[in-house]
């Protein structure tokens, strides 16, 4: 059965990048030593190179050229550094997979980053703050597609047929043809990585936050809304495009008006220009 081999591949998926975990752990302590953080980052060449690239991007408002990891750690500070390290490291995960979904892994990554940016724009509008856990969940929301992509191309015709002629949503088509959808699979990967339940649930329910049985569903709904907004904007990174069912209750959940979303589109467009270096890791 295809579903069995898919679930088996979750168990053998490479560990979540140790560099990100170590940096996150060090930064938990407000008194972290810059030298300790630099030491962790500098031994991971790929992440170190990406950190330098993105800490110089307009998104992080660098006023002078950041040339060393030490400068980046000092300049970015606790909150932005953890975000930069995650962005730098998670891009490696996305670059490896998603074949069956995206025409290029670059599109796949671009979608992930754009949803992460939008999650913070909406969080600022709705909760008046940014949220690191939300950022991580948004960046990883489609991680299930990395494994799914290996199988989807075999079943692609069937899935597309269902979406096109049976008016199925992409999620339903995945479930019917493969036996599991990419959101569920992403939740299982998050479990395999020992992520906290909040992140796991936001990934697993990013198309159906209405089904989540938790008291606080804010992050799941925010990832959902950010994802849908990016799909509307055409930054979809996949063959699934807009083939998802809309959940109108999201607007009531956050007490949002259409015009709030339209304004968020404008902010996203501005931030995307500044975040070019994040998109091209």
């Amino acid at each position: 059965m295809m579903i069995d081999s898919i679930l088996k591949s979750v168990d053998v998926i490479p560990a979540f990048p140790a560099t990100i975990l170590k940096v996150a752990e060090l930064l938990c302590d407000d008194d972290y030593a810059v030298a300790d953080v630099v030491n962790v980052i500098k031994y991971d060449q790929a992440i170190a190179a990406n950190i330098l690239k993105i800490s110089n991007s307009a998104y992080f408002n660098a006023r002078q050229k950041i040339k060393t990891i030490h400068d980046a750690v000092v300049y970015l500070g606790q909150q932005q550094l953890i975000r930069a390290v995650q962005t730098a490291g998670i891009s490696k995960i996305y670059k490896k997979g998603g074949k069956g979904y995206a025409s290029q892994s670059k599109d796949f990554w671009e979608h992930a980053v754009t949803v992460a940016l939008m999650s913070q724009i909406l969080s600022r509008r709705i909760q008046a703050r940014e949220d690191q856990i939300l950022y991580t969940a948004a960046l990883l929301h489609d991680v299930g597609k990395i494994i799914m992509g290996e199988y989807v191309h075999v079943m692609f015709e069937k899935i597309i047929y269902k979406v096109k002629f049976e008016k199925c949503s992409f999620l339903e088509a995945e479930e019917e043809v493969i036996g599991i959808n990419h959101a569920d699979l992403g939740g299982r990967i998050a479990t395999h990585w020992n992520f906290p339940p909040e992140i796991r649930d936001a990934i697993a329910y990013h198309h159906r936050p209405d089904l989540l049985e938790e008291r606080d569903k804010t992050n799941a709904w925010l990832v959902y809304l950010s994802d849908q907004a990016c799909l509307m904007m055409g930054i979809d990174g996949g063959v699934d495009a807009l083939a998802y069912s809309g959940l109108g209750e999201v607007m009531r959940y956050f007490n949002l008006k259409m015009v709030d979303l339209e304004k968020s589109f404008i902010v996203l467009w501005d931030e995307l220009k500044k975040a070019k270096d994040l998109l091209h890791l």
Partner: protein, 160 residues
């Protein structure tokens, strides 16, 4: 031959018959492709939102973001390099929505309505249209002959 890529909230015009104007991945955004067969002037707009009243400063900085300011700028930019309104052929694509999108996230429908109103008010007929539905589209305007092709994320390719 050069391919000029039109981004989101962007427009390009040209009177070079070897140019091809392309815009990728239209979701709820709309592409307006115009061509004057006599002067061989063509233009392509990819607007994102229906109305510039949402953010007037933004509209000043980047008119191509909105239907009203974008379509006006598209036509004016074409006139500036030799096009004439009465000869212009107009084709539009995009404005897609999420499935079962009844009363939430109606940016696609709002964009379609806003665009039609503008053309109606200005006595411009739409010569080819593929809007709505729930797939993404890529639009390609070939300035050697004015032909406009549409590729959908569900796999179909057709001429508008």
């Amino acid at each position: 031959m050069s391919e000029l890529i039109v981004g989101i909230s962007d427009l390009k015009v040209s009177n070079n018959p070897t140019d091809i104007l392309i815009t990728y991945a239209l979701g709820s955004c709309i592409a307006v492709a115009v061509f004057d067969p006599k002067s061989r002037v063509g233009g392509l707009l990819h607007f994102m939102l229906p109305d510039s009243s949402l953010d007037i400063n933004k509209a000043r900085e980047n008119p191509a973001m909105f239907a009203d300011t974008g379509i006006t700028l598209l036509f004016k930019s074409c006139y500036a390099i030799g096009a004439e309104k009465k000869r212009m052929i107009v084709k539009v694509a995009g404005g897609a929505s999420i499935l079962d999108d009844t009363n939430f996230f109606r940016i696609g429908q709002k964009n379609i309505t806003a665009m039609r109103k503008i053309f109606w008010r200005n006595n411009v007929l739409i010569d080819g249209e593929d809007t709505g539905d729930n797939f993404n589209r890529t639009v390609r305007l070939d300035l050697s002959n004015g032909r406009c092709f549409l590729k959908s994320s569900n796999g179909t390719i057709k001429e508008l």
